[in-house]
Symmetry: C3
């Protein structure tokens, strides 16, 4: 799926009113199923999941504030952001003064609608542009939210690309945000494209894609897969994958997990502007995967990170805010990272005393004396020198400041010549 | 005791002729006893203490150099610095030429009197301003030192503020310097004020204040408390506590003792100019507490450090050289440091799989979506994430770059909600 | 041997046609034997050495390219660089066009002759200035190489200076390069001078000097001394020892071997421009000593490193390119490094509780109070404080930022006073 197709997917998903449960999520997963064979899970309200309980399901059909003349001054049909997510049903007439405590605006961006939720405390409210509020005269308003909140299910999607080994890489993204494009339709689009590519590629690791509501969704998945969590060797949480900013990689809680080292290597080697940040327990679902009991090697890849741009959690995070090229670039970085993860090995040099005679094996130039050693030959010397069972090929690439691909090619040649074997347990 | 009261104490102690033994120390401790109930120890001459022996006691009543007309050109009554500390008695007439090898001046600061000692080699001498010496014509001088050096005692003061636990924090300062205000009457005043505050505060740790002669005093204390030294968990040597300079914290020999980390955290978090320096085996009594056999977690807090200002060990280190505000500021820093030490705990998160649901426990805002997370909520997430039994609250504050108080408040709330317990052995 | 004598040695060795075997090496070792009593080893062709086999021996008497008029346009008699090392014999007439694939030039330095080898693939060729080639008209040329390649020996020299302990320091340099002065006649000269000095000095360590052909020579030595390799505690590979550049120390693969720390200490303490670089498996025979099976504490000292100057491996690396002063300076640095290695000890403070009373032992000034502590006294305090069996005198010098000599003198005084003993196993 190229950047243009990913952008089309963002545009198509944008109008759906997603939340942590409900038909918006279901419809989103249906559309993704056109691209990848998602397995959709429905977990009943009331199911205990770790320290939490699956909440009631919320759905909404209509909502508005109408003035005394009956004109809808705020209308859910215009934007799903207009209603505080999980608002209880309401139907009342009240003065503007009475209404104010239920209205949310962004005075510093008077034309933008904010995004607000109240998942776990029964409440209702409207989000609207400050300009709209300013234009509302005093007087009576009809307030109507046609929502339902009752026993139902929490819905999430899962897709597993089987690998050559059972060790897993998880790719997780949240599907609970309504009309917000960068956060997280762009992440969903990149994950979908990535899943499609990997399915066609017979990867080394098993890749598990999770399309889950934020927090409660990953907690639900972790609760239902508690016994299998130790299969997860690496992971990436994808979010904010499409803005104009450069890439930011937020490391796992461990800080030196292999995925952390892969992303650091790739981003540094790329020479491009980027940021590597330490873990913090705030952001996306890495919060759950990196809680101290799990402490998984799961980082988070974004462009401009969580809460790092003014459009974050507002109506200005719309499809125009995300670029096809940015999503393509995020996708390419994921692809490269997984290509490193899938090919990283730790070898033992079988001829560790002195250098083996590479020339005899056709691996070394016969003409000596030149001062410009070839990168391929340097890579072989580095792999031989560091292959003591303690250094992976990624370590070699980092230490030698050589491209990972060159190091892999050198290792392959040396292994084929009988000079390396894989270290036990890798 | 506020800055003004501390300055009064400095002024009152200034005229006494202190040395490593003798009545000047006794009178100093008597005055301190008006503020805190000091226990005064008298250790007889000849007592073996570690590698040393308690020396003879020295006292002095009068000393002068008089010219041939009988005028006292150098008079102990004017300044206790005029006599080399521990000078043996002398009564003689000699030429200026003969006298010169017994005279100490500071040519680079011709109006200042230097401070000199000869504790362990029998000798005598006078310290005087270079200007005074320059004005002395050749000729005969009468030299008189009415001192006694004989069996007696070494005197030191000790005050223990009992805590909720037997683990001890020691605060040590030297009481052997004569008319020198910053080094160390200011340190004595701050320690006295601190002791008074802690006595009123029912602290967590037991605090032990030592008012000891430098080197031989701390060695004597260590020798007499050898079996109890392993109760000392933390400590601070206080000196040069009142000059205009910014604070300098000299770390313990360990370099990562908890007291080192506390002071680094506080001074960095304060944003104020300061210096953190590594341990060196030169300075004050941290030399003894950090000798390799003891290797205690004892650092040293000063303003301008040891030998770091021209007035050091001269008559220019007089009460005008120390400021009430500087002593107040040093006191406040000690107070904060001990408040951290007393509240630092290591917890274990009892709900370590995923985040616990804070909202259900009233610990989290119900309205979601805002981009400005509150510090108190961030602090709870950090405490939960790092409370794996390996990280103390100070570690959390450092890692999260949050104020220690905020982290403690978060931990208290989480503990009260049943989400944390103290790690064993902390 | 001073710089001038070392330069004479370089000039004398320069015309000999060295290679990895043959009479040029033998003659070189004969000349070195005039200075130090070298033991010369002859290892037969076909001897298996680690992963390699000792190759056939190569000797050459004459070689030229003559034009149709019989004029030698390229003549081995003018420079041993003119023939590709290990060229098989050839005697033929061919067109310039046919000859070209056997000619090597440096177009970017048209007056310089490059250095090329073909040790392990039977081939022949000439190296010449681009200017010479440009002046050769089309036409027939007589090509003649009067070389022999047959069973014989690989020759290397070895010289052991017995020490007070069996632990060894190796100093290795390569003797296989023909008319190249900095690489490596300067290294050979410095090693020879160093060996002479150490022989006269009764050193602590046993010093073993190796004059070996690059790669195959060190591999041969390692193969023949496999069982004794663990006696080697430290080592230096010397090369490029005479150019105008500042010193470069390339660390061992371990990176924290004692030799690495010694050179870092000395070069930093010197305040002179220098470079410390990490190990890489490319360069000189440190490649073999630091292969993962051996992983010895062997670094490499050069001035401008391997391939780091345009004259490298060309006729411009001639005796004018190396300076007597540079060789003297390299020699002095080696001398200092070995003086540190030979005197580095780890002590245990026998009076570790508090400071011992140094004054009683005549080790401390009796006059106290001065602010300018003497370096010798500081050094004693540092040695006492850090001598816990974990810190060597080099560690003390590094930590205290004191000259190593001062630290050794302090330790000697303390040991003589019965305050230190050597830690076990050092």
């Amino acid at each position: 799926m190229d950047g243009a197709r990913m952008h089309e997917l963002v545009e198509r998903l944008y109008p759906l009113c997603r939340s942590i449960t409900g038909d918006g999520v279901r419809r989103t997963l249906e559309i993704l199923s056109e691209h990848i064979p998602l397995r959709v899970h429905e977990v009943p309200t009331g199911t205990p999941v770790l320290d939490w309980t699956v909440p009631q399901e919320w759905n909404i059909r209509d909502a508005y504030i109408a003035d005394s003349a009956g004109n809808r001054v705020v209308d859910f049909a215009d934007s799903s952001l207009h209603v505080v997510s999980y608002s209880v049903p309401v139907s009342a007439t009240m003065t503007l003064q009475q209404l104010r405590s239920h209205l949310h605006t962004l005075p510093e961006h008077p034309s933008w609608i904010p995004y607000r939720t109240s998942y776990y405390a029964p409440d209702w409210g409207f989000c609207l542009a400050q300009n709209t509020l300013d234009a509302m005269p005093d007087g009576d308003y009809e307030v109507h939210i046609d929502s339902t909140l009752g026993d139902g299910h929490l819905t999430y999607g899962e897709y597993v690309v089987p690998g050559q080994v059972a060790d897993e890489v998880i790719v997780s993204c949240h599907v609970c945000h309504p009309a917000l494009a960068n956060d997280n339709l762009a992440g969903i689009a990149v994950a979908t494209a990535l899943a499609g590519e990997l399915a066609a590629a017979a990867p080394h690791h098993t890749y598990r894609f999770l399309f889950v509501p934020g927090t409660i969704g990953s907690i639900t998945w972790l609760a239902r897969n508690f016994e299998r969590v130790d299969r997860i060797r690496h992971g990436l949480v994808l979010a904010c994958a499409g803005d104009r900013g450069s890439l930011t990689y937020k490391q796992s809680r461990r800080g030196d997990a292999e995925i952390d080292r892969v992303l650091r290597h790739l981003l540094r080697a790329s020479g491009r502007p980027h940021e590597i940040v330490r873990f913090s327990p705030y952001g996306y679902d890495e919060r759950q995967f990196c809680s101290p009991g799990f402490n998984l090697g799961v980082g988070s890849l974004t462009r401009t990170p969580h809460a790092g741009y003014p459009e974050y959690h507002t109506s200005a995070d719309n499809p125009d805010f995300v670029l096809a090229e940015s999503m393509s670039d995020t996708l390419a970085t994921c692809r490269e990272a997984f290509a490193v993860l899938d090919r990283n090995r730790t070898y033992v040099n079988l001829s560790p005393y002195g250098e083996p005679q590479l020339g005899r094996r056709g691996l070394y130039d016969s003409l000596g004396g030149r001062s410009d050693a070839k990168q391929a030959q340097l890579a072989m010397l580095w792999v031989l020198n560091l292959s003591d069972g303690e250094h992976s090929l990624l370590d070699v690439a980092d230490r030698a400041e050589l491209p990972f691909d060159t190091v892999v090619a050198a290792a392959d040649a040396l292994r084929d010549a009988g000079l390396l074997k894989e270290a036990d347990g890798t």
